[in-house]
Symmetry: C2
Subunit: 265 residues, 2 copies
Amino acid sequence: MVVRTLLPQDNCLLGALSPEVHDRWGRHLDLVALSLYDVVYHADQPMRYVYFPADAIISVQYVLSCGASSAPMVVGNEALLGFNLCRAEESTPSRSLVQSAGYAYRLPRRLVREEFNRHGEFLSLMLRYTQVLITQIAQAAACNRHHSIDQQLCRWLLHSLDRLPHNRLTMTHEFISNMLGVRREGVTQAATKLRDVGVISYTRGLITVLDRPRLERLSCECYRAVRKETERLLPYLPQCQTINNSASVPTMTMEGSYEPASRSA
Amino acid sequence: MVVRTLLPQDNCLLGALSPEVHDRWGRHLDLVALSLYDVVYHADQPMRYVYFPADAIISVQYVLSCGASSAPMVVGNEALLGFNLCRAEESTPSRSLVQSAGYAYRLPRRLVREEFNRHGEFLSLMLRYTQVLITQIAQAAACNRHHSIDQQLCRWLLHSLDRLPHNRLTMTHEFISNMLGVRREGVTQAATKLRDVGVISYTRGLITVLDRPRLERLSCECYRAVRKETERLLPYLPQCQTINNSASVPTMTMEGSYEPASRSA
DNA sequence: GCGATGATGTACGCAAGCGCACGTAGCCCT
DNA sequence: AGGGCTACGTGCGCTTGCGTACATCATCGC
């Protein structure tokens, strides 16, 4: 078995920072292992560290008092988690949990705060990333309102896929349903359709994407909108090797059994 | 007729800035009139100015290609619009339009950019406001998913009310339906229920809130969650005079005809 | 191997909200 | 004053997704 050594550069944002910043942060930067469903931040609890995912994925949830929740944001190795405010060890009303197990670099928030006060490249990157985040959340909100579960599943799979180096998603239907704020059965039905036409395959808790170009065409515009904004504002990201822009057709309708029609045409 | 002279201090955020900042901005700060439904920023168009609403309200919409839209954010005199990135005259994929006519102070974005580079109090405020914005959007997303139109209407009315000095909302059902991303008829039905129990009254395009405490009790938790986070992070805001915390009951169910039940209990 | 556990498949009734259609009634303009 | 525009009211059939219930099936630990 090959064990690859992780480096800070595995987080794209860390990799984009200058040697000066790394000099200041180096010995405070810890590599920590994150297990599936670990809760990185509890709602309204102080946040002591900032996390830069290397190969883990973390999603941020807003939980309602009835227990229902949606995950309007997802963070992988393209950015960081917990920079909010950076003024004190403040909290947010959201909860963050590990969506895909892996490693992340951890840094005391104090250092990030100090870096802010130097107002250099890091601040610039944070402002850009904030804009990406807002787009991500708002587009997801519009998507929830107007698109079918089928389409939302495609979007979710693609956003997750973009943050992984392979095409296997370790997540159950149950988990996805929590993230999208829908029923588990709804996810199962949508996933079944995707499997029946050969776009994905899956077994217990493991989804394998077989035909990503097609998945992109089956997704609604929301995936591309977020992706476009991300690429525009975070130029330090490596181009995703699996994306292809061959499809000039914005959305695709499957022949026969599967038609992921929008709810409000 | 009494014409009150508007001052920069009518925008709370402008009012919270130090005299030094005002010295730098003073002669560049223009008072502009905004008419209902004016589009302040078109999607993907360069943003040349930053707006500080005095008594206008502006909502930010994410529009889908099918024409459907939701307004995940609302900005009144508590903050500003268009500070995103502040690095260049960049654009966003969202559209911003005037939800309530009035005046706003306008400033070339260049000056805001320069203020950022001084990284002082203004930056601090912006980071806090960013956090509020994210909460506002994400909570609205969760609300869209899990709460009824009845509840969402209450939330919308309250958020709008918080940004006005009186209790009259100049908006049609049609407009609200666009903001919430639902049908016009759905808004009419929800509004009728609220009127029947005496919480609001309305005529063509004008809604008057008669019983705000009750409106708050009829709203879902989402209004309070956003408000709480706003007050925590933007301490420069004046306390809303109309709010009362008398209700320890988190949600209220009307006797008889009206029961704004959550969609997923 | 084999049961326990947990993930997935499927069905049925129900309610919210949608699309559509059309009726009604303020308000403005001439 | 009256006509027209626009906003509001209301009903009907339909679809999506929800809640519930239960069946199947893969994996894991023993």
